[in-house]
Amino acid sequence: MVRTRTTTRKAAVHATAIAAASALALSACGGGGTAASADAAPVATDRDIELSLVWWGDDDRASRYQEAVTLFEEKYPNIDVQTQFQAWDDYWTARSTEAAGQTLPDVFQMDLAYIHQYASNNRLLDLSTQVGVNLETGEYDETLLGSGSVDGGQYGIPTSTNTLGMIHHDDLLEELGVEAPEAGLTWDEYDAWIREVSAAGADHDPQVYGGTDYTGTLWLFIQWLLQQGKDAFAEDGSPAFEKADLVAWVERSQPMRDDGVFYPVERAKQVEPLTGLQVNEATTELTWDNMMAGYAASAGTDNVGLLPVPTGAEGSQQFWKPSMLLSSSATTEEPDAAAKLIDFLVNDPEVGKIFGTSKGVPAVPAQKDAMEVAEGSVDDTIVSYEEEVAERVTAETPIPVEGYGVVEAEFKRLGEELSYGNITAEEFADQWFQSAGSNLGGE
């Protein structure tokens, strides 16, 4: 009897324990190694070559890429291009695991926020050996091309440029009977204008707000710093500004949050990944100018406009930024063909026509001129905006620092906490500098 009892009990306990142990099983990742590069030679035409091409973006961009790739394959029948795309966040997750396993794609979109990290860890192909062989860069503006170089190597080729701007939704403004904002607003004037619109939109169904809280966008903070004649990052990659600057930035918009005149964060979280302007509930948004095409499409109107970002005491100080670059893996087996594909994507006029301004205004004049821009279209607005802004561009593009992507995400997260009223300006600055300390270069 006793024996039976313990056996039953033990068997049951064991069975449960085994089930528990298997439920506990976890996994992890590992990897490592080094990379190499080869001498450039004109791309082979006598053998079959397979290339992978990966980008971040939406369906709209995917169909444009597909069109461009078809053209490329017609021109180089021996090259077969395999494509793949993800949304921004998933894109970087996938790339970082590939980087660890040395399996990055032959050609892929790169961003200023990450190029430093990928390049300084030898994950990217130095394309400077390809220049003049498979890749032409003669049409490039020196400074713009320079944004793709890290420690003397050309690790990325900018495809297009963008600059910050203020998108305004004129359909909504007309509905509310409020005048569109004027060019050359200061930050304080912009805030006052938002208040006016939010008051006018209070009885609208759904409620309409003048603008979205811009405090949690690191690029806008950098823009604001530049307008005061201050730099964002030092040569060693550490922040070049003081904690007091950050506190001042957060505090200057605090009354707006206290009075609830910004587009509410509770609502913003719900409409993600869209924004207030895209769902016709906010009349302005400060963002990159090339976003306008997508914004207009989701809002369902072409009646949108672009203005420069608000100015500071020292004038506007706008800057150009390459909206994206194309890079190649350091371990690619086909560096020549990869360079050729990049060359085709950035230089071919037909490709310029296909993409329009959806990736920003093309960097190379041949592509820019090839665009068929209809009068009054969204493309037209963006191109003329960049032409107009060109006169105001006085600041250099801030240096892409290693770890920028991480501290940018942290900035955004803290902005959200701020909007919920969970932290103060001081706490914002403390927590961000803590993150900067462990993720950025310097000391």
Binding site: T4, A23, L26, A28, Y420
Partner: protein, 329 residues
């Protein structure tokens, strides 16, 4: 395990090859032709090899690797740098780590009991004898068939935004309106509801357990004057305790590992305001968006330890409340 197999194999071999005395089998095996028992053992391992290989290469190996990484600074790009226990000390000074531990603890300690209670309640209802009970059982289990999928989380999110079903119901009953998705105080109830709604797996196990309870016991209790509550507490619960224990363990461990639904509902941010920043989610952010694999590995091992300790505590306490059939006390 292997000892038992050999023992059994040897006995079987001895039985069929009559001439060979059992004791000579191992001695012969080395030089001469392989005995039947060794062949059996080898075949056994051969059949087992897919799982053994899988375990060693995909589970045990990576786990050992992550144990090593937990003591290093590793960004996926450069070779790991040994840093001792730095990751662990940083961990406990990291406000977001503490927040994620707090969020997860709340989810586990509130969500699991509620889910088990719901599962048991439904199992009791489905155990009663009704017409068409089979159809009901299938219907109630259905949510769990699609339960782990991404689409459910997307639908769940849609239900709890402004003007979603939940919001409309609140307005109908005159409760304050507004979506739950954007409100940091309401996201946890939403996540727990989602878990509770997926009660199917423990419910089926409960149902099987309930069917094992001899009807005579309940009838005898009824004859003795015990009401439904008394019968439930004094007969059903003790008889069901091994099943209850099993479900409690699995659900607790499973709850600690919640990831995908939170990832989708918060749009991959753990927001709003970190209110859905579950432990495994933060681990993922550290490892795959901030590229701090060493830190993430340290977090993984802290989780293993914590879950291990909680499991051990549950096993300990189980002696007091779990009754196995045939257990005489």
């Amino acid at each position: 395990m292997s000892a038992t197999t050999t023992e059994r194999g040897r006995r079987a071999g001895g039985g069929s090859v009559r001439a060979a005395p059992p004791s000579s089998a191992p001695a012969r095996g080395g030089a001469g032709k392989p005995s039947r028992s060794r062949a059996d053992t080898r075949a056994g391992y051969a059949f087992l090899s897919p799982w053994l290989l899988g375990f060693v290469l995909l589970t045990a190996g990576p786990m050992l690797m992550s144990l090593y990484l937990a003591f290093t600074d590793y960004d996926l790009f450069q070779a790991p740098q040994f840093v001792g226990i730095d990751n662990f000390t940083t961990l406990f000074a990291d406000p977001r780590f503490l927040k994620s531990a707090q969020v997860t603890a709340l989810y586990v300690f509130v969500g699991v009991p509620v889910k088990l209670a719901a599962a048991l309640a439904v199992a009791m209802l489905l155990n009663a004898k009704h017409r068409g009970q089979g159809a009901y059982r299938s219907m109630f289990y259905a949510p769990s068939l699609i339960g782990a999928s991404v689409s459910v989380a997307i639908v769940w999110r849609a239900m709890f935004i402004d003007d979603g079903i939940a919001d409309q119901a609140q307005q109908f009953f005159g409760l304050p309106g507004g979506g739950w998705v954007g409100d940091p105080d309401m996201t946890m109830p939403m996540m727990i509801l989602l878990a509770v709604w997926q009660f199917g797996a423990p419910m089926v196990i409960f149902l099987a357990g309930l069917k094992q309870i001899p009807a005579e016991l309940l009838e005898a209790a009824a004859v003795d004057g015990a009401g439904p509550v008394r019968r439930f507490l004094s007969v059903t619960v003790p008889m069901l305790s091994p099943v209850l224990f099993f479900n409690l363990l699995l659900e607790t461990i499973g709850a600690f590992q919640i990831f995908s639904s939170a990832f989708i509902i918060s749009g991959g941010t753990g927001g709003p305001a970190d209110s859905t920043l579950f432990y495994t989610f933060y681990l993922y952010i550290k490892g795959f968006t901030e590229f701090r694999m060493g830190y993430a590995s340290a977090m993984a091992w802290v989780l293993v330890l914590v879950v291990g300790i909680i499991t051990a505590i549950l096993f300990r306490t189980s002696r007091a409340w779990v009754h196995y059939t045939g257990d005489v006390r």
